[in-house]
Symmetry: C2
Subunit: 213 residues, 2 copies
DNA sequence: CGAGGACTACCCACAAGTGGGTAGACGGGC
DNA sequence: GCCCGTCTACCCACTTGTGGGTAGTCCTCG
């Protein structure tokens, strides 16, 4: 290692997570928590002064979302390596974080050992994604070739885009609402998208539906 | 009038509406119901043979939606004047119907007199929109200049596009979920859009949000 | 003929959105 | 000084979606 201790900045708007993480990390001699913040803006300010090697940042924060904050960090502090900390394992959050420049993404349900491992890995130049995240990333690439949407699913996706409820979709297709629900669930699972809004953006992006009303 | 009786085709997948409307219309000497159908495709088939002057069609039907059916009618039977019959007064349905070529749009809660009036009007070449619909159409044009979205609303619309729930929006903006809910309601009211899906399409259409994840 | 995918349908408990409202605080403009 | 728009917040009853499942029927492909 270039320095004996890895400097880490913690940003999380949940005091419990913030303090807990700080306490745990401080039991490791090779890690130094140089600051904590509950808001991204404050974290950025601290980072300007302390120039941490690693920033561990929550993805969901008031005022300034973690995703948006990644960009600000990258612009002002390109050497600080950003690891996102999230409770959500949705494909959108993960790929969005990576695209914005995060080099790590760990779920909040991982062990503290794994957090330490992530810090070490990204500090030495690597990338770290917790196991659940890796699965999602790999699945994301393999899934679409292995599991293309069925015609029925594309049809239903189109109806979802127009704002139809499960009941309305069911009426329109002559099936039960429960089945429409299943198709909706399968769509989300196949695409790794957690929200209906995400499904709509996906459909518009991939020409499965058009915005024409 | 060119013909003594106006030939009308009824298409609605609700038997009650279909039969009720037929019975009522047949009490008028100058109106002749030349056919009824509970599916758009069947209605189209009947229309091919009977060439009705007016087609009264439900907007929500299984298999083939009324909106899509308008196009088929326009293509094959350009002389048949289409009046949409709907329970929904959402801006999207109405403007979509008009754009596809309907010359009338009446809500199902209107009086039968108004239905007769609509048939007479479109048969003689005019357009007919029931009072509630007119309000919405006029409002639609006037509203956006009179009532532009506030910055706060645009911000919240952007968050809705990313699939945030009211609770998540509230956390992100430091307000209560109830307030986020109010903003969401106001957005729908201002834009005359009934569904969250519609809000998303609107936002993407108007550059208030981008699909970039 | 057996496997697997597609489509269908239902179960549960819980979370969230819907669509009506009402209402207070603040600030700018007439 | 008052009006109006904005932003905030809450009420209710109701519907809908969520995220786990399981499981049956068809049809096709090897």
């Amino acid at each position: 290692m270039t320095r004996d201790r890895i400097s880490v900045l913690l940003i999380d708007n949940h005091p419990v997570v913030l303090d807990g993480l700080k306490a745990v990390l401080e039991t490791f001699d090779h890690i130094e928590v140089v600051g904590t913040a509950s808001l991204a803006q404050v974290g950025l300010e601290i980072a300007r002064q302390r120039r941490p090697q690693v920033a561990l940042m929550d993805i969901n924060m008031p005022k300034l979302s973690g995703i948006d904050a990644i960009e600000l960090f990258r612009r002002e502090l390109p050497d600080t390596r950003i690891v996102m900390l999230s409770m959500h394992d949705s494909r959108e959050y993960i790929s969005s974080s990576i695209m914005h420049g995060a080099v790590g993404y760990i779920l909040k349900d991982v062990s503290t050992d794994e957090v330490v491992c992530a810090i070490e890995t990204v500090a030495s130049g690597g990338t770290y994604f917790s196991s659940g995240v890796r699965d999602i990333l790999m699945a994301d690439e393999a899934r679409m070739e292995a599991n293309p949407l069925t015609p029925r699913e594309r049809h239903i996706l189109g109806l979802i885009v127009t704002g139809r409820s499960n009941r309305e979709i069911a009426e329109e297709l002559g099936i039960t609402p429960a089945t429409a629900e299943t198709h909706r669930k399968n769509l989300k699972r196949k695409l790794g998208i957690a929200t209906t809004a995400g499904l709509i953006r996906y459909a518009l992006d991939h020409g499965i539906a058009t915005r024409a009303v």
